[in-house]
Symmetry: C2
Subunit: 369 residues, 2 copies
């Protein structure tokens, strides 16, 4: 994480025609400043001018200003801080005037910036034009740098340790919910940084609900159980799915398992710079369709992964993103047959200079407990 990201943003802003990008707390704030701010009652706005000779500005509650002054990225902030009870609009007005934003083109995050912040900015910039910076920000964040990939590599290890430990403790008769609780508990034990999100644990899956939450159903001999979970390490996420059989499954589901395993392998093998995101979907889906299970693979093959659990690109027909080295995403084909059970195998991939590497290294063989 470094000032280089702001320099790159300067360049891209010139190309996109914005004079300044305004960022509120969330993944983009973390990406550019390294700071975990909360999108709450007290507004925080980072104003990042296109011109590299202009200093970035931060509108921030006084008690939160220290995080920026001593943040991991050395930014020469102009700080516009406010105390509870102070006229916040006056503080924002000052920032807007000093950055000369009136009449300018301001890029914003349309699904993140709220009326609270846009109202503060537009008060002294009635002639500014607010445009979406979503594509510009997506373009930067999709391709991870070495530091980000290192974090994702470490994040990918955590659920592998959790899985190895938790499968030792699964017993027939536990409910899906109890298995989910077990994974939560082991996740707490294994990851010294962040509380884990609840895992998805499902048996007897139907194609209609491949991602339903863990339920009250007791795990029985002959069941296939899909377990989907992840971890966050240094703000970057991992995502893994493995399928666990309670006792040896029947021949049909063994066959289904092999097809999903081949589809996962085909999706991963397709990854290389220059192909499209939808090509990865196609490669995995083709295996399942050729085996006659196409209608039972009801979701996309994968999604981008990084600061957010789901982000661009999406491995789905219609996503024409050209893969570049450093892009990271999941490959997670599945087949779900009502009453018989489901199978999904999910790995986290990074595009390398020549192909793709799976950050997930846990065995893809069926786990039988």
């Amino acid at each position: 994480m470094s000032i280089e990201r702001l320099r790159k943003l300067n360049e891209l802003q010139h190309a996109a025609g914005t004079d300044c990008v305004a960022i509120v707390p969330g993944a983009n704030m973390l990406y550019f400043t390294g700071i975990h701010y909360h999108l709450g009652e007290r507004p925080i706005i980072a104003l990042l001018p296109a011109d590299p000779s202009d200093r970035p500005a931060l509108v921030v509650p006084a008690f939160e200003a220290g995080k920026a002054m001593h943040g991991p990225v050395q930014i020469d902030w102009r700080v516009y801080s406010y105390l509870d009870g102070q006229d916040l609009q006056e503080v924002a007005d000052l920032a807007v005037r000093e950055l000369k934003l009136d009449g300018k083109v301001i890029g914003v995050e349309p699904t993140q910036m709220r009326v609270l912040e846009s109202g503060l900015l537009s008060h002294q910039a009635a002639n500014a034009r607010f445009v979406s910076a979503a594509d510009l920000l997506k373009q930067m964040r999709m391709t991870k740098d070495a530091d980000e990939i290192s974090r994702m590599r470490r994040a990918a290890k955590v659920p592998e340790r959790v899985l190895a430990e938790a499968i030792k403790r699964i017993k027939p008769g536990m409910t899906e919910r109890e298995v989910a609780g077990l994974f939560m508990m082991v996740s707490f034990e294994q990851n010294p940084q962040e509380p884990a999100s609840p895992p998805l644990v499902q048996t007897g899956l139907s194609a209609a609900f491949p991602h339903a939450f863990a339920g009250e159903r007791a795990v029985q001999r002959g069941d296939l159980m899909v377990v989907d979970f992840g971890a966050v390490v240094d703000s970057y996420g991992s995502d893994i799915t493995r399928t666990i059989a309670i006792g040896e499954p029947g021949d049909e589901m063994k066959h289904v398992y092999e097809i999903v395993k081949q589809a996962n392998a085909a999706g991963r093998a397709a990854v290389r710079p220059g192909i499209l995101a939808e090509d990865v979907d196609h490669a995995a889906r083709e295996v399942i369709e050729r085996a006659g299970y196409g209608p039972y693979f009801t979701h996309r093959t994968g999604h981008g992964l990084g600061l957010e659990g789901h982000e661009a690109p999406y491995m789905v027909k219609g996503d024409k993103t050209v893969l570049q080295p450093g892009m990271t995403f999941t490959v997670e084909p599945g087949i779900y047959i009502e009453g018989k059970g489901g199978v999904r195998i999910e790995d986290d991939m990074v595009v390398t200079t020549e192909s793709g590497e799976s950050l997930t290294t846990f065995s893809r063989d069926l786990i039988v407990v």
Copy 2:
């Protein structure tokens, strides 16, 4: 949950001078429509006119429209639905024109509505005035109806069952994180509806960090452990804190425990219609200050609770909200002494016609394991 809430909103809008309130997915959407919508990439906007003879309108993705048509509240929606790829602005424009919003006063949620939605609404309403509806919405949601209190009563029971079960399984030598994992697991077992949020589990607390997350510290004989968690039942939350001693504590911390217990009792006893939110804080704080521990009680006495885990009113000096029957909030005084440990006791209160009732009924005596 019923249409009555929309009727009340009609009245309050007339008093507040708004012509329409625009609501996006979140707690207010759930409050008025009973629908769980997600604030995501695809905008959803409910337009609730002040005039009761005007039908409410909903801008919504086509695949989400069914939730509104078959929702728990019988609203005669005008639905403006859109498909992926369709010109969303055209759909929003039609809604804005048919509701004749240009030139009107539109109340919005400033900390919830995003630039995405406000941009869609203002395109055909350049002369509309957007104002904050926060106070109006807060005013309605603060006072719970019988259905809401019934949900909160059930929500309050869940963590009591979890606590009773989990304390049987706590052993010296477990880390705070392992204890948190244990609570997560038991929460999964006990609550058939919603994944629990991670509990706060802390030993050796300092006044500077009364709400820090569970850490790597192993729980030792002589420790006091503060455990703060909750549950959500039918969308309404509960919040409980109890303090668990690992073996008998020393005389000083026994004394501290008694003071916090008295402060909790004083805060609860103060509750009745007509007093101010800050009076509850004062009643609890006075006990701790008189005992000489004022500087070690570093947070407010409580917060409102309902559809959101923290909502108005706040039990803190300066909150002049006049308590009314049906208001719900926590009473959670604490004392935290660096190196010696912390104590907090938290209950969920509802204001009754004459006093207050604690929805939390778990014993407030020190738990020794």
